[in-house]
């Protein structure tokens, strides 16, 4: 039984390779492919109790995590290059917007889930460090001519400096974390950063640990989004903030058509040319289409127990930042 499980995904991958060479995928899939999947579902018995989407395919829930793992294992090395190529560098602006909306004060603890190569964490540390330096400079300037009261007060209390901020990068995929660690070393960020392997649906942390929880371009890969949201609620401190940066629905019909054309025609080609991996990037654009739209996702976040849930569209709805608070 176990052996047959391993064979069947490979068979499906082969079938997909074959159909992919016939040009852009029909979003509804072709019939031969469907029968293969249903045959798979028939003979896999217990594990195929419920199925979920993997791009435009249906797969059993147990399978999705493994397949997502494989996708990111293969793209890890070229992940950052591909991001720049696919979004024409705009993903950096999106991530900067996320940080600006977060506006973190020094001393906060960030959990960067599905953080992979650590983009958000690096930006977070940079932001809080520059804010902290500003505060220290301001304090030093204010202390230039202290009044006698301030001098007297200064004798008692020590260590009133703003606290250090810390970021924890959590990802299910070791390859992505490895790439992230290398990037951290080249960037020279040594303190305040830790790398943890963990599943977003079952975080290896205690309750009430973090001030901010972010998940950037990761939540659509999670099998059970509600569980991930509940885990986020669990590990956040009271007053903590949940922020999600994710691809979303474009409302403008003209832009939507351009975007679809670009996604389905260009991106897998880029994936093949730059990273040598067509199907992973096919999965990427398909998973974007399967993710719920802004309002639906906002409702899901509210269901999980967050308050004051808001969202902002960036680039006309291509990307949306959702934010909620644990109160």
């Amino acid at each position: 039984m176990a052996a047959s499980f391993k064979e069947l995904p490979r068979r499906i991958v082969q079938i997909r390779n074959r159909s992919a060479r016939f040009g852009p995928r029909n979003p509804l899939g072709n019939s031969t492919f469907r029968t293969e999947v249903s045959a798979y579902r028939c003979c896999s018995g217990a594990a195929a109790g419920r199925s979920t989407h993997f791009g435009f395919e249906s797969v059993p829930e147990g399978e999705k995590a493994e397949r997502v793992y494989k996708v990111f294992e293969s793209v890890a090395q070229k992940y950052d290059v591909m991001n720049d190529a696919m979004s024409l560098g705009i993903h950096r602006l999106w991530k900067d917007s996320l940080l600006r909306l977060m506006n973190p004060q020094p001393g906060l603890k960030l959990l960067d889930t599905a953080g992979g190569t650590g983009d958000i964490s690096f930006r977070f540390l940079e932001y809080t460090r520059s804010v902290r330096e500003g505060q220290l400079r301001h304090r030093a300037r204010a202390n230039q001519t202290p009044s006698w009261q301030e001098i007297a007060a200064g004798y008692g209390s020590e260590g009133e400096e703003p606290a250090e901020s810390r970021a924890v990068v959590c990802d299910i995929n070791k390859e992505m974390l490895k790439v992230g660690k290398e990037r951290a070393e080249t960037a020279g960020i040594t303190t305040g950063l830790s790398w943890v392997v963990g599943d977003a649906e079952e975080l290896p942390f205690n309750d009430d640990q973090f001030d901010v929880y972010t998940i950037a371009f990761g939540i659509r890969n999670v099998t059970h989004i509600e569980q991930a949201l509940q885990e986020a609620l669990r590990v956040l401190k009271p007053g903590g903030r949940f922020m999600c940066l994710e691809f979303s629905k474009v409302s403008n019909p003209l832009l939507s058509r351009l975007y679809d054309a670009y996604s389905f025609q260009m991106i897998p080609v880029l994936g093949e040319v730059i990273a040598g991996d067509w199907k992973s990037y096919q999965y990427l654009v398909e998973s974007i289409r399967r993710f719920p739209d802004q309002e639906t996702f906002k409702e899901m976040i509210e269901e999980a127990g967050f308050f004051r849930v808001q969202y902002v569209n960036l680039t006309g709805g291509v990307v949306a930042i959702h934010s909620g608070f644990k109160l």
């Binding site: 506006n103 956040l236 009271p238 007053g239 802004q294 409702e299 004051r308 934010s323």
Partner: protein
């Protein structure tokens, strides 16, 4: 320590009310409070302050539902989506959801806005240290047991803090004036003359700025930012209106506008003088205030005199003209 005293006071007050259930949960909730701070802290805070010194910011906002705190403890969750998601005001986040506002039946639940008001009130004590900034709000949130990240709830950042403070001061002033009005009605105090009343009201209101006077210029500049001007003008106009109402103004003609315009001018200029005043207890400011009020009163009197004089002059001229016509015989009927 302060929290312990608060809980003791709460327990004592609740014992008087005879609600044993709450009393037993009080000390336990103190330590679980940090985890369920949103709910339990509200319970402690609401019970130790019998008179609501935290003013509902919904005073001027029409879409809030203000439910009474004492109700049955039906477990109403605030997790149901809001029924009015489309409430728009000038926001960088145009798609906000406000949680169920009628879900305030249980004693230990409060709406988001009340929590925000509490955070801002707590943030005020950090203003002398951090100024009117998001850092002060973050520090205030931390005293309530919430993470500093919750300062991100305030889209307008420091502007929210300043507007909250101004609103709070205005409400306090209204309460003081109402109380004095009651005293006068009951005959326990004498009715002041208009000029004295205005002076007293403006001085009381400006004295509320004294703890924050060092950072007040920063607050004034925040109030003048274009996106804050509508709100700050609203606060100013309600302040001036309230003061004139309690001064006894019931006019329905042009003087309604002129009086309020005059008082607005007095208030703003006195505020500016106060900000750069370094005399002990701001004596020079009160002298300036006296002079301005006297000027306005004089202006009013002068205006009346000018009008009367003008009328007299015109009548005199008319009389001279008629006399001249009579002398020259133009008026003769032929």
């Amino acid at each position: 320590m302060a929290a312990l005293i608060r809980s003791l006071r709460a327990v004592r007050s609740l014992r008087g009310l005879g609600s044993a259930v709450v009393a037993t949960t009080c000390p336990a909730s103190l330590y679980g409070g940090l985890r369920r701070g949103f709910h339990r802290a509200a319970l402690l805070a609401s019970d130790s302050k019998s008179d609501q010194t935290v003013p509902p910011p919904s005073h001027h906002e029409h879409y809030q539902a203000q439910e009474p705190r004492q109700g049955s403890s039906t477990f109403s969750t605030e997790q149901a989506s809001a029924s009015d998601p489309g409430t728009q005001h000038e926001d960088p986040w145009p798609n906000t959801s406000y949680q169920d506002q009628s879900g305030e039946q249980a004693e230990d639940y409060e709406t988001e806005d009340q929590l925000q008001a509490r955070i801002l009130t707590a943030a005020l004590e950090f203003v002398p240290q951090h100024g009117w900034t998001v850092e002060a709000i973050a520090a205030g949130a931390e005293t309530l047991g919430l993470s500093a990240a919750s300062a991100g709830m305030f889209d307008n950042g420091a502007g929210d803090l300043v507007l909250h403070f101004v609103g709070q001061c205005n409400v306090q002033l209204t309460e003081i004036l109402a109380e004095e009005h009651n005293q006068v009605q009951l005959g326990q105090a004498e009715k002041k003359k208009t000029a004295d009343f205005l002076r007293h009201a403006v001085e009381t209101r400006l004295r509320m700025l004294v703890p924050y006077i060092d950072t007040w210029p920063q607050a004034m500049s925040l109030l003048l930012l274009p996106h804050n001007i509508p709100e700050s003008l609203k606060h100013l106009s309600t302040l001036v209106d309230d003061i004139w109402y309690y001064a006894g103004d019931r006019s329905t003609d042009m003087s309604w506008y002129t009086r309020r315009a005059a008082l607005t001018g007095i208030y703003n200029t006195t505020e500016l003088v106060m900000v750069q005043d370094s005399s002990p207890d701001f004596e020079e400011t009160w002298v300036f205030l006296d002079n301005r009020i006297r000027d306005v009163v004089n202006m009013a009197n002068t205006a009346k005199q000018v009008q009367a004089t003008g009328e007299a002059v015109v009548q005199g001229l008319m009389g001279a003209a008629v006399t001249l016509k009579n002398i020259t015989g133009v008026n003769q009927r032929r």
